[in-house]
Every structure is written in structure tokens, then in C-alpha cells.
Symmetry: C2
Subunit: 373 residues, 2 copies
């Protein structure tokens, strides 16, 4: 007979999930009500307003997709891609590669613009690609590459897309709430985020936002969106709210309570204050890592404050060190992905995790595990 | 400035979500841990075992899809459909229609076998369709039609599919945990459920299970699954557990805690006892409805115990009565969908809601709202 699961207490310093506050956890445990209850409808409107606030947008089409960040990514791509759509994808890590794979399955002509894993997207290379492909419809990029910790210049990329007649698609899963994300000021046309990074909410939802230009493009489609579940036209019959809500799928009621509460926490702190906190603690972590003789993968100026990839020191056993951190200190850090497996650790400082105390605990634990103290 | 949301207390007697026990809510609020944490890996194995138990199957490919029941439906269809696949779909309500719409978007040749909304699937009609379409690959049906309350003979439908060389796909969103579901004994090849019906968990996950025949069919595909997010081959690299787990998407950790706990509750009661409770309380509800002069939509012998559609009495204002139940009594019942809008109410007796006290409260409230007491 199985038993109730009582998870261990962890300090989550990997690439996500980050630690979730008791306040947000408690919100998810409030009584479930119906997804068509009028009080839930009012709550949904409030949640949409909070999402517009955190995305810095007035986009009408702003809502949480009922699935993890990967579902938000696929939903944005699926709504904007028809067979034959030409999409340029900036690929400087695992998530750029994921977009290429998704777009190809949708029948798009996907052109990858490659940069080294660990580097920001090269804006000049993107400009050249846009010039070389004047028939491109879409430009997609990852703002904060979770697989490497590279921070790309989203503002320039969105501007270039617009100048070349492309819609811009931005993965801001790991950036939202940790570094500036300015949907309207940058003119981004479609963006998706995650809840379990700098918003410090349990994983499972993906806030998305689409511009009027993107909404218009979807309205002009000649073929239906390949996914009925992800079709924003249908989803908006529930989330749109104009002229009543009609059932599309059952919203994940309790998870939405948690997202709402996490946005209130962020609103209480202030978005700019949260960005500053991520910057400050990144600097404190960088000092600690320097003392431990750990080198950053990403060059200065391209580093995300909230996700820090460091190279494994010579002769160190990757799994053994991560295992010791987890078992002896209750600290999770992330392994490398793909070509970086066994070569880097990914140290997250996201949302609730982004505190001086986290850095202190990691300093002690990593010092012991590496035999430095 | 927005405020924390404190949902009202409701007695959820609609078509789902049903009421969630404090025990399950508390489980969802346990600390979030990493989706690659070894302790989470052990938890996942335990959860898979519980899902196999509730589905009555030994299928290796049994896991919770990270999205609501609609995502589970689409995932099963997407993995088994390639362009040109011929699928027969039993359509006796909204969810049969949903499968037709999804299959068509996937490039399948979908043939609907129609029955009246409110009736079970006509097994003889299905046999005739299978004979008329010897080139069909798949047969899909809804075990418990949430839009009407009709109970179809899944065992016979799965047998017919097998006899005619088709894989069988079963929607058991509203049946699992409330009435017998026997994946292995019936030889069902793909099935998906929901968490927010008879399992009494918050909405947002979809337990699915696929037979070895289905897994083999997926392995023989000539084209990739249209959805990267829903591709079971990729999802199983995380949920499969053999040779370690590799990251596909971030699992909805806390929601999974809740599902696990809800299955423990069910295991404590016993599956047969839960079925009996649903049968018994259905009879008690039927007596109350008869006293209130409310007639069932579905003929006797085809009625689900857990979802009871009744015709609106002549001259009664649909929205006004449902509004009064909700506002004055805190009771949610469901409206009709599609052609049944304004014509029926859907009264759920699922999972935690399925108690004598629920029926008593509804009796009083509905009597008052209809001016009968």
C-alpha cells in the first residue's frame, strides 16, 4: 500500500522550480470552485490584469495557458504557424532547438540562426539572416536561455523583426519577474513565460501574451490551428470574457489561485525592486563563485543574474557533488543539458530563492563538497 | 491594487470539478521540490503504480499528462493519428464532437457514428460502421458523456474494435473512480481521464494509459507526432524511468502531489466500494428528483450514476434557478451544453460530492428555487 508523500525541504537553486513561499502554497490549497462560477470569472479578470501588469502590456490576448512553459511555447508557435510559414529561430541553447523541432513538426520552414551555447544571440547575425530571408514570416528567440544562462537583447531582436516585416516570438520563461521584460515598449508580438522560475509559483502554467498584430495574423489563417486544445481563438471564448464565458476546457482552478497570489507578492515588492534584488544577489553570488575558483560559462555582459552556469573544475565528479549538495545540505543545483552535460552546473537565484541566505548556504555547502573550506 | 482571492465555499454538484477534500488540498500545498529530484523520481514511480491500479491495467505507458482532460484526449489522438489515418468516432454528445474536431485538424479521415444526445452509443450501429469501413484504423468513444450523462458499453465497443482490427480509444474522464473502468479486461488501447470528476482532485491533469499494441503503433509511425509537447515517446524519456530520467518539460509537481493523495483516498475506500457508493447515492438522488417532478434526459439503463441530466420543467428560468442555488445555497449545478443549453440541468454526484448530505442540501435548495416546498 502506498503512503502519503512528504517531500523533503529543499533549497531550490537549480534552473527551476525555485522555492515557493508558504503564502503561495496556501493559496493553491483554497477550496476548489467551478471554472464557470461568476466569482471565478471576476478572479480571472483580475488575474489577466496582473499578467498584463507583469508583462508590461495592454494586450487583450493575455492569459495563462493550462500547461507548463513548453505548452505555452507550443501554443504560441501553433497559432502563428501554418504549413509553409517561414520562421527564423535563434538557436543558442536547448530552448532555441526546441522551437526548431516544434516548428518543423507543424510544417513550417524553419531556419536556425546558430550561436554557441553560452553566448547571447548575435544581433548582427540575425539582421543578416533577416536580409537573406526577406520572405520570412516570424522571428523567434529565447530571452533568457535556461540551458546556459545567456541573456539576449530582446529589444533589438524585436525591433529587427518589425523592421523586416516579421512577427517576433519571445520565450521569457526564465526572464519574467527577474530581469526587465517590456512587451509593449519592445513591440514583442508573442511571448510565453513559466510560473516556476522568477514568479516562484509551482510549475504547471504558462502565462502568454499576444499583440494585436499577432491576433490579426491568427484571424487571417487559412487553415485551423493544428491543436484544438491550444487554439487561442477557442481558448479566448473562455478567457475573453466579452459576452459571457463559454466552456472550452476545465481551467486548472487551484493552480491559478497560486499564480494570482505570486503576482500579488511581486506587486507588493515592486517589479523594479525585484529586478534590482536579482542583480544585487547575482553580484554577491559572483563574488562567492570567484572565491571558490569557479568560472562562468557566459561572458560578462551576457550573463543572466538569475541563472548562473559555471564550469566544472578539473577532475570533479559532477553527479557526486550534486548528490552531496542535495543529500547533505538539501540544496539542489542544476546539471548541464545537451552538449554541456557534465561540463557545467546551473545555479539559479530566482524569485524566492534569490536571497542572501541562499548564497551563504550554497557557499558553505559547495566549499565542503569541493574540499575547499 | 488587487487582493488575495478567497473563494466562496461551494457544494460542487455540476459536471466537474467536484468537491476536493482538505486532505487532498493540503497535499498540493506541500513544499515544491525539483522535478528531477531523486525523491520525486521515487514518488513518480509510486504515482504510476496508483494510476495502473485505478485504471486496472499493467500498461507500462501509464502517466499523468501535464494538462487537463482535453489535453489528455488530444495527446492520445495525436500520438495515434498520422495524416490519412481513418478514425471512427462515436458521437453522442459534446466530447464525441470534440474528438471529431481534433482528429480532423490532425489530418485524419474522421467518420462520425451519430447517436442522439442523451443516449448511449448504439453498439449495433458501431458494428455496422466497422463492417462498412474495413480500412478503419481507430475507434474512439466516450465512456461517460459529461455533456449528457449517458453511459456507453465500453466493454462491447472495445471488443468490436479489436475484432475489426482497430485500436480502441476511450474517454473515461467522468467515469474513472465512479463506475467500473477495466482497461486490461476490456482490452482498451488508449484511455484518458480527468482529475476533477470522481477522483476529486483539482483540475489540471489527465491520467492516460496506452496498451502495448498502442505503444507499438506509435513506434511504427512514419511521421513525427504533430505535437512535441504531447509526444509520448519524448514524455516517456522522463516518465519511463528506465535508464534514468531525462528532462522533457517541467512536471506540475504540486498538482501531482494532489493526484497521488486523491488516489490514496480512493485506495483507502476501495474501488468497488466507491462504485457502490456512486450507485447508491444515484438511487437516493433519483428518488428526490422524482419527488420534485424532474425527469431524466437519459433512459433508464443508460444513466450514469455520477452525472444526472434532468429536463427543465416547463416555464422555469434556467439561469435564475441556477443563480439562486449558487447565491442562496452555495450549490453549483451544471447548465446544458450545445443543443441541450436551456433544456437540461446536469447534476453531478462525483467523488467527494457523492454523499447523502449533498443530496439533502440539493433537495431543500431545489425545492425552494422551484417553489415546491
Amino acid at each position: 500500500m502506498s503512503k502519503s508523500f512528504h517531500p523533503p525541504r529543499r533549497l531550490l537553486m537549480g534552473p527551476g522550480p525555485s522555492n515557493v513561499s508558504q503564502r503561495v502554497l496556501d493559496a493553491t490549497a483554497r477550496p476548489t470552485i467551478g471554472h464557470l462560477d461568476p466569482e471565478f470569472g471576476a478572479f480571472m479578470e483580475d488575474l489577466k490584469g496582473l499578467l498584463q501588469w507583469v508583462f508590461r502590456t495592454e494586450n487583450r490576448l493575455t492569459l495563462p495557458v493550462s500547461g507548463p512553459g513548453t505548452a505555452g511555447m507550443e501554443a504560441c508557435l501553433a497559432n502563428l504557424i501554418e504549413p509553409g510559414t517561414k520562421i527564423l529561430v535563434c538557436r543558442n541553447g536547448a530552448f532555441g532547438q526546441r522551437m526548431v523541432a516544434m516548428a518543423e513538426r507543424m510544417g513550417a520552414e524553419a531556419v536556425a540562426i546558430d550561436d554557441e551555447w553560452g553566448r547571447a544571440v548575435d544581433v548582427e547575425k540575425v539582421e543578416a539572416a533577416l536580409q537573406a530571408h526577406p520572405d520570412a514570416d516570424l522571428l523567434a528567440f529565447v530571452h533568457a536561455e535556461t540551458s546556459t544562462g545567456a541573456w539576449s537583447d530582446a529589444e533589438s531582436l524585436a525591433r529587427l523583426a518589425r523592421e523586416h516585416g516579421c512577427l517576433s516570438l519571445m520565450d521569457c520563461v526564465t526572464s519574467l519577474g527577474g530581469i526587465p521584460v517590456e512587451i509593449d515598449a519592445w513591440g514583442v508580438d508573442a511571448a510565453w513565460a513559466g510560473t516556476q522560475k522568477c514568479l516562484s509559483c509551482p510549475p504547471g502554467l504558462s502565462p502568454v501574451t499576444l499583440s494585436e498584430r499577432a491576433a490579426q495574423r491568427i484571424g487571417e489563417r487559412k487553415t485551423p490551428v493544428q491543436s484544438w486544445f491550444m487554439d487561442f481563438g477557442l481558448v479566448m471564448s473562455y478567457w475573453g470574457g466579452e459576452g459571457g464565458r463559454s466552456y472550452h476546457h476545465t481551467a486548472p482552478v487551484n493552480a491559478l489561485y497560486g499564480l494570482h497570489e505570486s503576482l500579488l507578492v511581486l506587486q507588493g515588492e515592486g517589479l523594479e525592486s525585484a529586478w534590482q534584488r536579482h542583480r544585487d544577489n547575482h553580484q554577491a553570488l559572483a563574488d562567492v563563485l570567484a572565491q571558490l575558483d569557479l568560472e562562468f560559462l557566459v561572458p560578462e555582459g551576457e550573463r543572466l543574474p538569475q541563472l548562473n552556469s559555471v564550469r566544472l573544475p578539473e577532475g570533479v565528479d559532477d553527479a557526486a557533488v550534486r548528490g552531496e549538495l542535495l543529500e547533505s545540505h538539501g540544496i539542489e543545483i542544476g546539471a548541464g543539458l545537451g552538449p554541456l552535460a557534465g561540463k557545467v552546473w546551473r545555479i539559479g537565484l530566482m524569485g524566492e530563492t534569490c536571497r542572501v541566505e541562499s548564497i551563504d548556504r550554497l557557499n558553505t555547502a559547495l566549499g565542503q563538497a569541493l574540499g575547499i573550506d
